[in-house]
Symmetry: C2
Subunit: 198 residues, 2 copies
């Protein structure tokens, strides 16, 4: 039975299709939207349409952006000798938040996954190759530490190791966590990667 | 620094203002929306606008609906001798999903909360009073089991107990849970409310 009425159910359904929005959150958000004032509703729908119509890939790093080259690629203060390779734009944003990295990025827009039918040709790998010149000293592979991310890192390493230095971000225990809750594979990797305290 | 570009940041901000959508989910949803095809984006924004423009309160039970009287109030198969009083339309939907309740509802659209400045006059209590006639045998108070919900239930009980039977839904341990994780107040209430096994 349709408890809420058609237009409300339809909105809940639409929201429920978004990633990470379950049936309960969808209903909660729908009721919240219906109680927002008209101006805020317009602001929300406009933002959706604007973002959808203005986004593109940065012609250099392939990140999702609304200006190309993106803010990072066009920033003359960045260190052009280092390129960090990430799977998607959100990973780039995550590293930007650390404020520890001053180099450039390259966004693959995915990872190799035979299961999902994603092969190297579907990723922005040839765009990465095209960026490697005498000024680039190091390629840091920061793909996700999962099966797809590892496969992608291995593939790119094979491709580039003879022409440029290639590194992989460290595996280990996350800061602030409790060893008790860390999985055994990570614990083993953290042991294997141990370093002297300087 | 603006990592993503203006239109993307604006969309993330708008989504972040929705209830239960944190900064990370907002970014995830924003990127998902930007990758949806145009038709689905239009379907989403249309659903928001349509729901916002068609919703109203049911003239009888005060639920949020797009037709008044709502589907439940206008359903001749419902038992009109019982009215369940809930705080909001989602609580009504939750009880409807149990398929155990055949009576009518009354939606207060809130709960008494001096902290939030919500007094009985701000709730649909006089609309509830107006519904009580010779045909109504029981008012079931199904407000939330928290401070505001309890205060509201006590207030309505005082108001109605001399003119109609008033009951409160049972307190106890939730089905499928593990006693170890149930808080001590609930455990005490479950003990207090114990019944013989029939």
């Amino acid at each position: 039975m349709n408890i809420y009425g058609n237009s409300i159910s339809r909105l809940i359904e639409e929201l429920n299709r978004l990633p990470g929005v379950g049936a309960k959150s969808a209903a909660r958000i729908a009721f919240y939207i219906m109680q927002m004032d008209d101006e805020r509703v317009k602001s929300l729908t406009d933002a959706i349409i604007l973002a959808k119509t203005t986004i593109k890939h940065c012609e250099i790093c392939q990140a999702i952006t609304d200006i190309s080259p993106c803010n990072i690629c066009s920033n003359s203060k960045r260190d052009i000798s280092t390129i960090m390779v990430v799977e998607d734009s959100r990973d780039m944003a995550a590293y930007e938040k650390t404020k520890e990295y001053k180099g450039l990025y390259h966004v693959l827009n995915g990872a190799i996954s035979p299961m999902a039918g994603i092969s190297p040709e579907n990723l922005k790998i040839k765009e990465l190759l095209a960026r490697i010149n005498g000024e680039v000293n190091e390629i840091i592979l920061a793909t996700n530490p999962n099966v797809e991310g590892e496969a992608t890192a291995m593939y790119i390493n094979k491709l580039l190791k003879d022409i440029v230095n290639v590194t992989r971000i460290a595996y280990g225990v996350p800061i602030g966590g409790d060893l008790e809750y860390v999985d055994h594979v990570t614990l083993a990797r953290a042991l294997e990667g141990r370093r002297e305290i300087l």
